[in-house]
Assembly symmetry: C2
Homo-oligomer: 141 residues x 2
Amino acid sequence: MTHEGLDLAQRLHQAGLRMTPQRQIVLDSLCAAGPHATAEEIFQRVREAAPSVDRATVYRTLSTLEEIAIVDVTRVHGKLVYEISGERPHHHLVCRRCGKMIELTHEPFSHLYHSLQEMTGFQILDRHLSLTGLCPACQGA
Amino acid sequence: MTHEGLDLAQRLHQAGLRMTPQRQIVLDSLCAAGPHATAEEIFQRVREAAPSVDRATVYRTLSTLEEIAIVDVTRVHGKLVYEISGERPHHHLVCRRCGKMIELTHEPFSHLYHSLQEMTGFQILDRHLSLTGLCPACQGA
DNA sequence: ATTACTGCAAAGGATTTGCATGTGA
DNA sequence: TCACATGCAAATCCTTTGCAGTAAT
C-alpha cells in the first residue's frame, strides 16, 4: 500500500517535518479515498483506522502536505477535495444538474496551457481543474 | 445605469419571481462592483444604498439570480465572486505568489471547449474560469 | 533538550435557515 | 388575495487557532 512511504517520509524530512503515525494514517486514507476526497471523507477514513485522531490534525496534515506539494487541493461543487499529487495532471467535468463526473486526461488542456503561456507569460500550474456543464443525459431536460 | 432593468425584471418574472426594491439594489450594486465582487463586498454596497437590507437578503438574492443565470459565480482565491453574466465569457489568470490577476478573452478556451464537447458529449457552461500559476515576475523567485 | 506535533475545546468566518411579518402582482 | 420576499436571530457548515501536554530526533 505505501510503496511510497519512504519517499514521502523523506520529503517530509527534507522540509524539516516529521513522519508521525497520524500523518501516515492520513496519507494512507488519502490513497484509499481516491482522487476526490473531502477533508471530512478523509477524516472518516482516518477515524476508522484510528478513532483517536482529531479532525484538526487531519486538517493540519492536509494543509502541511499541500504546502510541500504532496497533495493537490481543488474545489469541486464548492468543496475542497484532496488527492495525492504524484501522478500526472488530470481534470474533471461535472454535470451541473445530476452531478455526474468524468475524468479527463491533461492532453486537451495542454494546448490551452501553452497558448496562455505564450500570450501572457504566466506559467500555469493547475494540475486538477474542474469544469462544469451539462452531461449528455441532462441536456434535454 | 439599469438600461437592462426591464429586461432583468422580465427574466425574473418569467421565472415566477418578483422584482423588489432589494433585488434592484443588489443588481445595481452588482453592476457597480464590477466583475469580481464577493458577497460581502456586494453587501457593503447594498448597505450604503439601503442600510436596512439584510445580509441574508443579499445572499438569497445572489443565489436566486444565479439559478436563473443572471449572475455568474466563480471561485477566486478560494472565495466566491459574483458578476452579472450578461457580457461575453471571460476568464482569469491569478498568480499564486503575488496575487496578480489578468483577464483573458474566451478565445483561447473555445478550442478546448469544443474538443471536450466532442470527446465527452458534455456541454460546458463555465463562462468565467480562474486558472492559477506564476506570473512572469514571480517565476524567478 | 529541543522543537514539532497532537488532542481538546473553543473561536472564526461565510453562508443558510426558521419564522413571523411585510409586500408585489 | 396570497404566494413570494424580507428582516431578524439563530443555526450550521467548514476550517482554523490557542494552549497545554506528548513525542520524535
